[in-house]
């Protein structure tokens, strides 16, 4: 068997499997059992009420004092609606759970059985071909260019570029050297490494995270707990009220029917929020997981919504992190065309983003040498992570803390000139790289070279020098491009009252020009790794809640200190341990989504709570005027705003109460609509929609249901 083909990369499909409707139904019915339901106090009480009314339906004389209605069918109807109310609640739980299981299984697909080369002998000559599932912690592996890393492991020998896009969706090459961790599922794109397996197959980082998503013993977030307490409080208040009415009804002979009282009780209980509270929490985690963000602590979701300060790395978050050529600057007697053509030729085989952008710029400007087709490109010193040996000093272009003007890219190219028969040299060298590095590597340096370079660098751009045949012919201006759409997202963040702070290792000029461009007021330039930690502490000391992202080991202290720390899955192990969220896609810009989703979860919870409590006003006015049937109390019917007969009023209120739950399930699962606005705006809007709407809607809803009941004789 051809081993290369065997190791070929297979793309994994991540399409969503359909939710199994039948399974959800079954699960929701299973949850009706009191042994499961008791955890949800409100719904448990509704179920008890169902049992009482069901008993009345079977034989009203069992509870003689308070079953005045001779109409058994009324009791049956009430019982059915009560059961439906509970079922709608368990249904919302089941759907939310099914969704999250679904998301988890999608995530799990990322991890698949992959072939591996296990080193079996001491001298590393003997290699066994096994699969990833057969590996154990401590095994040694050989992983070559073009292969998928079978399992999380630690690099022992070699340096390689690793593409984690299979794992994360974003194609960024990351350089992994001795001591770093490579994640199972990522692709080695250059060189080969020897690595030691750092986990057992069931304990991979990904696996642990997925388990976290799935776990049913998810602890309640602080806020969810507070809402539960509030609901318990309201349940207690209404229980006391109902028991008091019951007692007074009997003593004062108010002509009370227990089933009507129970209907009032259930209507008053915060059933809507009680039913949807678990689903809101679960679906919040699910929405995060769908965005490939794994929450390690529930507290962090809420802290995300509370964020005041957002620390953003310039590179990777605000800018692409790759520099793009924007201008050719000729030096001495050379023209812009000379520089462009040289850049074009030297970059043709260069796969780095910088190289590609030079080709693109030269092509746009029309600087393609007409003799290009006949030039025989002899040798190209490819950019490689291990070029250190060759003497050229290279640095990853995506390295965040890359200092300006120091070591940059140095590339070397020899082109054989076939078209020029007079030329004595049949080869010509073109080299390009950091200005000072080029200066050292060439013989002829233009006058005032250093000054010109400094002048050009003032705008904050990266300057590269290009030399042909040992003479520096010009400079190339490269700019770190701002990500598309980042400006509007920064504006959205600021709208929400969150202060973005940009951190960069760049010099002041670059930092200020980029921050001005995207609209950030605060930035820290020439940042050192420990600057982040200091900044987190400083912002917190001002009473602010800080969110940040990080990937390197030296980010770990800052991640641990921050209120919301998001680690990149591609980052180092300590960083991931310290963070309270992990982004599987390693997309730093996603921190903004995290903040918005955190706010959305809180908002949804508040909106449904407010709505639920506001509903009670209407239900009081519908039921109380008709619930005392004693003659002396007939005057209360003046309060009967909707003019409903007792049975219709009670049934309509109960049906509304039940139906509002499935009606709001989509809201609970999707979250309340969220536009980045100032908190007071959002608040005011929600107060109107859910508060005022919560008072008015039930009147309309109950009236409509009553209309249907009366005119179509549904019940």
């Amino acid at each position: 068997m051809d081993s290369e083909a065997h190791f070929a990369v297979t793309k994994f499909k991540t399409s969503k499997p359909k939710l199994y409707k039948l399974a959800i139904l079954k699960d929701s019915v299973r949850r009706l059992s009191p042994t499961v339901l008791y955890k949800n106090v409100v719904m448990f009480i509704v179920e008890i009420c169902f049992v009482i009314v069901a008993v009345m339906a079977i034989d009203p004389s069992l509870i003689p004092e308070v079953s005045s209605s001779t109409d058994v069918s009324f009791y049956i109807e009430v019982a059915v609606i009560l059961l439906l109310t509970v079922w709608f609640s368990t249904l919302s739980d089941s759907i939310a759970e099914a969704q999250i299981k679904n998301t988890a299984s999608t995530l799990r697909k990322i991890e698949k059985e992959v072939p591996a080369r296990k080193i079996v002998s001491q001298d590393r000559r003997e290699i066994a071909e096994v699969t990833s599932k057969q590996l154990k912690k401590g095994d040694l592996l050989l992983i070559k260019k073009g292969e998928i890393v079978p399992i999380d492991c630690e690099v022992l020998e070699g340096i390689a570029m690793v593409d984690e896009s299979l794992l994360t969706g974003e194609s960024v090459n990351v350089r992994k050297s001795v001591g770093t961790t490579v994640l199972g599922g990522s692709l080695i794109t250059s060189d080969s490494i020897i690595a030691r397996v750092s986990v057992n197959p069931s304990e991979t980082f990904l696996n642990r995270l997925i388990k976290l998503v799935e776990s049913s013993s998810r602890p309640k977030t602080p806020n969810e707990r507070a809402v539960s307490i509030l609901l318990a409080g309201f349940t207690a208040i209404f229980s006391i009220i109902i028991i008091s009415i019951l007692a007074l009804g009997v003593i004062l002979k108010l002509g009370l029917d227990l089933s009507v009282l129970i209907a009032l009780y259930v209507s008053l209980l915060p059933t809507t929020i009680g039913a949807l509270l678990p689903a809101i929490g679960i679906s919040g985690i699910n929405r995060m997981s769908e965005k490939r963000i794994i929450i390690k602590s529930g507290k962090a979701i809420e802290a995300a919504g509370d964020t005041d300060s957002l620390l953003l790395d310039k590179t990777g978050t605000i800018t692409r992190g790759t520099r793009t050529a924007t201008e050719f600057i000729p030096l001495g007697k050379h023209t812009m065309r000379d520089v462009g053509e040289a850049a074009f030729m030297s970059s043709w085989d260069d796969d780095t983003p910088e190289g590609k952008s030079m080709v693109e710029l030269a092509y746009q400007e029309g600087f393609v040498p007409h003799e290009f087709a006949v030039i025989e490109r002899v040798k190209f010193e490819e950019f490689s992570a291990s070029t250190r040996k060759s003497g050229a000093n290279l640095q990853e272009p995506s390295d965040f803390f890359l200092p300006k003007g120091g070591k940059g890219l140095l590339q070397h190219k020899r082109i054989r000139r076939k078209y020029d028969p007079d030329s004595k040299e049949d080869e010509i060298d073109i080299i390009k790289g950091a200005p000072d590095a080029i200066k050292l590597a060439t013989k002829t340096v233009p006058l005032n070279y250093d000054n010109i370079v400094d002048e050009a660098a003032k705008t904050g751009d990266t300057i590269m020098a290009i030399a042909e045949g040992g003479e520096i012919i010009g400079l190339i201006r490269l700019r770190d491009e701002v990500k598309p759409g980042i400006k509007s997202r920064i504006a959205a963040i600021k709208n929400m009252g969150i202060k973005p702070v940009m951190i960069t290792g760049d010099i002041e000029a670059t930092a200020s020009s980029i921050s001005r461009e995207v609209g950030i007021d605060d930035y820290v330039s020439r940042a050192k790794p420990e600057t982040k930690y200091d900044l987190v502490k400083k912002e917190q000391a001002r009473g602010r809640i800080v969110a940040m992202i990080g990937d390197g080991t030296n980010d770990a202290p800052a991640l641990a200190a921050s209120d919301v720390g998001i680690a990149m899955a591609s980052g180092t192990e300590p960083a991931k341990e310290a963070a309270n969220m992990v982004d599987l896609e390693s997309n730093p810009a996603k921190i903004i989504d995290v903040v918005m989703m955190g706010k959305q979860i809180l908002m949804t919870r508040g909106a449904v709570t407010t709505f639920s409590i506001a509903n009670d006003v209407a239900k009081y006015f519908v039921i109380v005027p008709v619930m005392f049937t004693a003659v002396a109390l007939s005057s209360l019917s003046k309060l009967n705003l909707l003019h409903l007969t007792p049975h219709v009023a009670v049934l309509s209120a109960l049906i509304f109460n039940a139906l509002i739950i499935p009606f709001l399930i989509p809201l609970a699962l999707r979250g309340a609509e969220f536009k980045p606005q100032s908190a007071m705006r959002i608040f005011l809007k929600n107060v109107f929609v859910y508060g005022l709407g919560g008072v008015i809607l039930p009147f309309a809803g109950i009236a409509a249901i009553a209309f249907v009941i009366v005119h179509f004789g549904v019940i």
Binding site: I229, I240, S244, G497, V617, L633, A679, M680, L684
Partner: protein, 551 residues
Amino acid sequence: MITASAAFIIVLELGSVVVGGWFLSSYLLSVYSTRKTRLDRIFGPIERSIYYLGGVNPYEEMGWKAYLRAILALNVVEAAIGFVILLIQGSLPLNPMHAPDMSWSLSLNTALSFSSNTDLQHYNGGTALSYLSQMAVIQFLQFTSAATGLCVAIAIFRGLTGKTKGLGNFYVDYTRTIVRVLVPLSGVAALILIFLGVPQSLSGYSVFKTLELGGSEVVKSGPIASLVSIMQLGTNGGGYFGANAANPLTNPSQITNLFELALMMLIPTSLPFLFGRMLGRMKEGRTLIVASYALYIIDIFIAFIPITQIGEGMEVRFGAASSVFWTVTTTAFTTGSVNASLSAFNPLIILAALFGMIIQATPGGIGVGAMYMLMYIIMTVFIVGLMAGRTPEYLGTKINAGDVKLAIVAFLSHPVIILVPTVITFAIGAQAAVGLGTNSISFTQILYEYTSAAANNGSDFLGSAGNTVYFNVSTGIVMWLGRFIPIAVMLAIAGSMVQRKRYASEALRTDTLTFTAVLVVAIFILAVLTFFPFLAIGPILSYLEGFKNGF
């Protein structure tokens, strides 16, 4: 309905009280801060000698538990002294009218009533109490209970503003409240009342010959002006006479009527301003004052809805408008003094009175009114604040599950201690002992009795008819629970907040009028949700049945 002149007087009264409260708050700030003032030279030696005699270390900072323990200890001792004096007043000096010993249950009720700032009276003050009891029990407890209320507010303010390490020192606050606030203010008020015609003497009673041949009338007098001033100023409400402020000797004219009203409104009105001053953000204080006055004005509107305010064949001393205004105010500030008998009123006015006692923050009694408003703010911030998309916070501190739990307990305790005894009363038929049946009017009266007791208001329908062992003991318990459960709970919240981390930014700005409006609606809805069915079968039903003859 309200006449233009009545409306004008009400607006004028409220306006002058708010202005007065604003000025008073500035003085109160100096009383409760350690800052040196010029008054230290007068009051300093008095306070220091009190600390010395009491063995108090005035520099000791208390946490909420220590503060609460001190409050309870002092109140228990004070109530116990009052209980004993009432029990044996017949054999004690200063008893020119030979008032007999009180029964144990009435002594208990009276001691609990006055020490809890309720002043529910199941006796007729003019005849049932000796001068010693009037001064050493009634007046003494009116000072101490008002001081306790004020101290509670100050401690809670300190906790929420979070500028100190603890909640302060109760003994210091208490001493300073009495020495620097209550005694001087009530002294001045008493002088004004004497000037306006309220008697103050220790000479017993005068006998006047009437125009009728051989007839004579006994006019009881006594230290009335001083009692009236502290009864109103301290939102106590316990009158010298059974008829309270409806008695011409307690409240001789329309002018004294308005002055006494202003007196009871003064300190509760000044506290929101004091809160703003302590916080250094007057706008947060504005939220409290605007919300409580908005509810108060709603309350007045409810009371003025009916065209017939006073029952047919009934008369009230100060005319309908003035009596209605007084009744609303005395319940809105949970004072409980009355200038007309409740049984004369339209049920809707009774509803308005209940409304004030249900909410207790309209603006509520001395100290505790502000406390209840803060409780409502915490609940409202939590319920609706989430909708701003952030963990709810008040004054920069996050509202956590513990705060919600405590605030709910404080809120929940009120309906519990009202509804449970009301139901028990009817269950055991105790209402029959005071001549009530099982109709809606009887129900309203019993509900009112326990609402008044729980809200530490003190106005009631029963009066001296309530002097049965059952009512004395049950209302006594309700009064103390209604007083000290919320105090304990709110002190606990304040104690946990005082050292809590403060965040710089708030999503939900509680110092805006938007929030204030939401707060008012939220309080209104919370009140409706808890009491609507009971109000419906009580005063609302009576009103809908067509009000004719009062209760």
